[in-house]
Amino acid sequence: MKRTVLLLLMAFLLTRPALGRELVDQLGRKVDVAEPLTRVVSLIPSLTETSFEVGGGPVLVGATHFATFPEAAALLPRVGSYVAPDIEKIVKLRPQLCLAIRDGNPKASVERLEALGIPVYVFDPKSLEDVVDSVVRLGEIFRTETQAKILAAGYRLRLERSARQLDGLKERPRVFFQIDAQPIFSAGSDTFLHQLLVRSGAVNLAGDRSGYPRYSWEELLVLKPEVVILASMGGGYSDQELRARWLAWPQIPAVRNGQLHVVDADLFDRPSPRLIDALEYLIGLLHPELAGIQ
């Protein structure tokens, strides 16, 4: 008798259609998430990275080009790039859910996937706090809430600490952040880079513009940056070449005072929790005297 009941129960559990959960994404849209969730495709490297971090890695079945961090992410099948996801390859992977970012992935691709019956959970991080929030949200998606919440709490602590470090800061250096070298591009007021610069106690010289504004040497000579940060790989140049292009202008204070710094572009251009590493790195770079202050 007991065995029959057990068998019936097992049969019920096995044949029962997968129950879905309804989650609300960062745009406030309702997204049906299958349960159990076993097949997820991430459409952008930052979310791939964060998914691995909260323990969702084993559930990922596809990622886009340049999703190279962590190492396991580099082994996932590729589904095009984040600006041009290959819908056919995505469909072939039969995902139960896709993860996208509003300002990264084309809207048309997201709509296309949804029209094909693949739910898409869209993130829209605007600040470092939103990035921490996406950690919690990914935890909800992958059912690794505890791990995600612990991680998020740690990130919040680090953000608070970095804010405290800057208390009573008197001088804010005028910083020019070069994203690309030829032509020269920087990051305007509506970017993550701007937030990082401001929160690390700097004045972003491109902060009076929006988007990714272009600069000429003429403008840079007038701007007189005190510190210049060069994102690595800009324009395909080596670190040495990147610096050499600036060293031709000793009139610029940053050049004169040896304040040219090349930083790892990967750390700065992805809205993932590694941005907090970037923030701490910037604070150390710009205010070495604050090191060690809790």
């Binding site: 080009h65 590729r78 095009g80 790039s81 600006v83 041009a84 290959d86 819908i87 056919e88 390859k89 469909v91 072939k92 039969r94 300002d103 084309p106 048309a108 296309r112 029209a115 094909l116 019956g117 988007g211 990714y212």
Partner: protein, 332 residues
Amino acid sequence: MLGYIPVYRKLITVTLILSLLLITAVLLGLTSGSSGDTGAAWQLLLSRGAPDATLETIIWQLRWPRVVLAAAVGAALSLGGLVFQALLRNPLAEPYILGVSGGSAVGAILGILAGFSLFPGLAFSSFAGSLSVLLLVLLLSKRREGSGDALLLGGVMVNAFCGAIIMFLISVSKTVQVQKIIFWLMGDLSAAGTNSLPLLFGILPCFLLIFLLAQPLNLLLTGRESASAMGVNVAAVSLVLLLTASLMVSLTVCLSGLIGFVGLTIPHVLRLILGPDHRVLVPACILTGASYLILCDLLARSLPSHGEMAVGIVTALVGAPLFIMLLWRERR
């Protein structure tokens, strides 16, 4: 009437043969793609093998709209080329070279920047762009009548100007939009979705209208005076044909972006093989243009090892040398 019988016979033979070509192209287009597995796709189309819901979605909801879009764009562009070449009695006339595509592009890019939806916004702004360029080119050539290349010169100039406007628009727009515009400028069919298909029904009446006007088009080729002596209302027929061709081209350009050389290569090849009768050339252009672009898109999808290439690159890479070869042989 007796003279018509061979034409009909030729029309039917040519249509049948080219329809077979089109069907082959469609089948090839449906069975190959980035996810591989051509064999399974063939089995599914022949309704053998195990049913596979994923593959079915890929074939019918992803590849099918794309193949249909490629066919429609290819047909519209080559028919547009044929009509422009006959009307303007200039073998180089083609939507791309005359600046009609360029004008349509400026209209569509303005539409993209303004955030218009595909229909009616983008379709309308691109139609308005192509029409104003066409008018401008025609006016320019009117003023310089007598010099045979006036029209072409006007087209080249207007096209260059459109190019400058496009570059200007790109340099002032945001990064996200720039990507969209650049993909679109290279001629890209990857945006094809089931929602764009209704727009394509708009070009079917255009095909029919042009086919019905094929005989007047033949007469126009003999010259305006002799055509009007044979009872063709030259002004009316020209206007209707120009409008129809521009409408057809801009409807497709707003979906596919700029695709060059289709309107030049296909009509020339067909004229070489089939002779100058437009009653045969019109359906032949539609069918061959459709097959040609499907096959070019197939190459665009499968040549790069990852991602895909814009189809406009393939049509130019294949079309330009082909056209040069034709010119070379004609000279000798």
